[in-house]
């Protein structure tokens, strides 16, 4: 059983470490989608929708396509929050976004295959399309969330942004890695 002494020593060392630094793990990396949910919330501070965008409801309507657990997370993130006197409403959307009055429309990676069709389908001139896949901007999306060096980065399709009937703050453009299309 002599071979066990090495590992046992190691186990002991680990045990001691665990005992000495029990709370050391507080500073953890965050879940990608927690951070992405916070991004969605933050975007609403940089976008000014015209008053007619709030004819259906006073709330900022965030629509999530293709990832229901993310919708739940966004709901949790924006619960009770207000931006510019607007509360929030989060909707899970299965297919068409027409007539839903989305202010932000998030198309998940899982829907990337039909995202070109989904993006072409958007009739709402106020809907800020946010995605998370390689071809999202090329397919006509406005803001893409990418992962670089384990951090979330934003890319903006300027041409698509200009076409929207809402104003996007220039600060967002400077923060983003703006891509002209």
């Amino acid at each position: 059983m002599a071979v066990l002494t090495g590992p046992l020593k190691l186990a002991l060392t680990i045990g001691v470490f665990a005992a000495v630094f029990p709370a050391a793990g507080k500073d953890v990396t965050l879940e990608e989608y927690q951070v992405k949910a916070a991004f969605l919330y933050n975007f609403t501070k940089f976008v000014e929708w015209p008053p007619e965008a709030f004819t259906q409801s006073d709330r900022i309507n965030i629509c999530i396509l293709g990832n229901n657990s993310f919708a739940a997370l966004v709901e949790e993130t924006v619960a009770g929050k207000e931006v510019g006197n607007h509360g929030f409403n989060v909707q899970k959307v299965a297919a068409s976004t027409q007539g839903r009055g989305c202010h932000i429309l998030f198309i998940s990676k899982t829907d990337s295959k039909r995202q070109a069709a989904l993006l072409g389908d958007i009739q709402d001139p106020y809907a800020l399309a946010v995605g998370e896949s390689d071809e999202f901007l090329a397919n006509g999306g406005v803001i893409n969330l990418t992962l670089k060096d384990a951090r979330v980065r934003i890319e903006i399709n300027q041409r698509a942004a200009v076409r929207l009937r809402c104003r996007i703050s220039s600060k967002l453009f400077t923060l983003a890695n703006a891509i002209r299309k």
Partner: protein, 691 residues
Amino acid sequence: MPEPKRNAADGQWTKIWRSGKQCGGVIVAILVLATTLRAGGTDPAPDLTQLSLEDLMRVKVTSVSRKAQLLTKAGAAVFVITREDIRRSGMTKLPELLRTVPGVDVARITANSWAVSIRGFNDRYSTKVLVLIDGRTIFTQEFSGVFWDQQTVPLEEIERIEVIRGPGGTVWGANAVNGVINIITMKSQDTKGALVSLGTGSQESAQGYARAGGAIGEKATYRFYGKYFNTESSNWNGGRSAGDGWNGNQFGFRTDWQLSANDVLTVQADAFHSNEGQTLTAVVPKQGFQTLTFGDRIEARTKNVLAKWNHTFANGSESSLNVFYNDAARVDQGSDDQDTADVDFQYHFRSGERQDIVTGFGYRHTKLFYEGYYSYGYNAPSFESNLVNGFIQDEVTLSATLTLTVGTKLERNSFTGFEYEPSAQLVWAPNERQSLWVSAARAIRQPSWFYANSILDAASFPLDGGGLGVFRLLGNSNNQAEKLIDFEIGYRKQIKNRLTLDLTAFRSYYHGIVTSENGAPFFELDPGPPHLVIPSTWENRARARNYGAEAFATWQATRRWRLSPGFSYLQMKVIRDASSTDAGVELVTGSSPKYQARLHSTIDLLGNLEWDSAAYYVSGLTPSIGGIHTDPIGRYTRVDTRLGWRFKEHMEFSLVGQNLLAPRRLEFSRLEQQNATPVQRSITGNVTWRF
């Protein structure tokens, strides 16, 4: 032989989708249950809405918990293990890791050899499962199987492993008969910085892995790595060494280069060297054809280089050119050197609104040199073989909920000439949470040099009237491909983000199964002493009718606790033709378990502690060699557990106990030449730094 597919070694879900399509018509749509699975690990969740956008962009995120939870639209039985699954498995060797995949039958033979199969016919020299690493087939043409000890791809570099149960010949080609195991390593973009991992334990006495990665300018990234391991020999009861200890090292690099907005070039290479022990029981012609049991060495040296060029066209279609060269040299009952060069091209495009087509062609050249030491050799010192293939597969959207995928592979190999491997899959997905699919496919396993050209003195025995008899297995250049016609049905359902179910049933008809048919005995004088040879040649005179079912589920019991049960059932029946004298072929069914079950539990404890456990049940084996039963393997349950602790993001400690229920146990019986050794209870400690 199989061909490598561009297998989207880039960790993007969109790419999984595409590569999935290339996995035998599998359309893989993945529902990412991002936070429900591991939200517990980030307790207490800080209020990120207080952060500015600038701050948010500085926050480091982990995406490791993205779990391929439900492959809703796949028209085949697919299971994916992710980087996080690998990290939490506590496994250190690739074949052991495959144990965690439901429906894969892994039996450890010795510390350095494994029998791995899917849906039966398990053996060290299993021939019916195709295995690829980044699109490079790791088959040896010698016996159409895998030397698992030579596959030491660092588990730390694997992005995911896609396992398809059932045939994948239409896209993957010959030998993808019972399944495909597709191992995909991380892109170098995802391995920037340095990582060092060290471990020690009672069996895995030393393990070290280090890698460094970074960027060259804005367009290219790279990583290089080295690893070393030393595995202790197993012990028999009483402490006698089983002589199967081994060690090895491997080095490699990968670069990914964004040539333009539409072109990516990947170049990667690895070199591996090992020294291994084994115990053989073999007929030794040089010593008067005595059957001797003796300790022997294995030494393996492999090198490979692979280049892949992906191009995306303006209309969204894509092409991929994949080229690899593989050199595998092995000293194991002889000296064996096999070189493989392979070119493969694929083109993926949409036609109209409803059709998604992938087509391609490939060429492979393989050369083998072999010099036998004991009783195993070939009728020529070297062989060459070619494989030319083309395939097309069309995925037709019939309606919003119905998809039909049809296609075929056509190939020409040096052994049996022209072969075809068609398949059809129909998927009905009424919504994203459930799907029902049916499939039918034909697949083939082409002959290997072993079946075509080998000479093996399998047994020697005293004759009744005095004198010596030698039983000799002879290759047959007319050996035909084994063929499978397979029918499957499957159902998947996700219930409220907490529970996913995946059910599959299959019925498989094999024909042309290889048998050994005795010929007329003759006397041989040289080498002496004079002996009577009973020759037996490889023919294709048996068929098999198998059926079975596989079920698995993932249940997020609480925020912090996930349970994944799995179950598989296999009923095999091999029937020899009336013209066959090979009674033994009907007994091969005893080498695969009828029932297998597993239960995985992953728990996120407080303070970044993880406690993961797995139990595996195998219903036992009744193995045989040449029609004679060897020692049976009784049913057994294996229990592994792992305690992991993450210290900030830089360090991780883990303690792993394996085979906890018994001090030692055999998982497989002895083979024709090789003796099996016991698996032992073991403990391993590991520490990983990232910086």
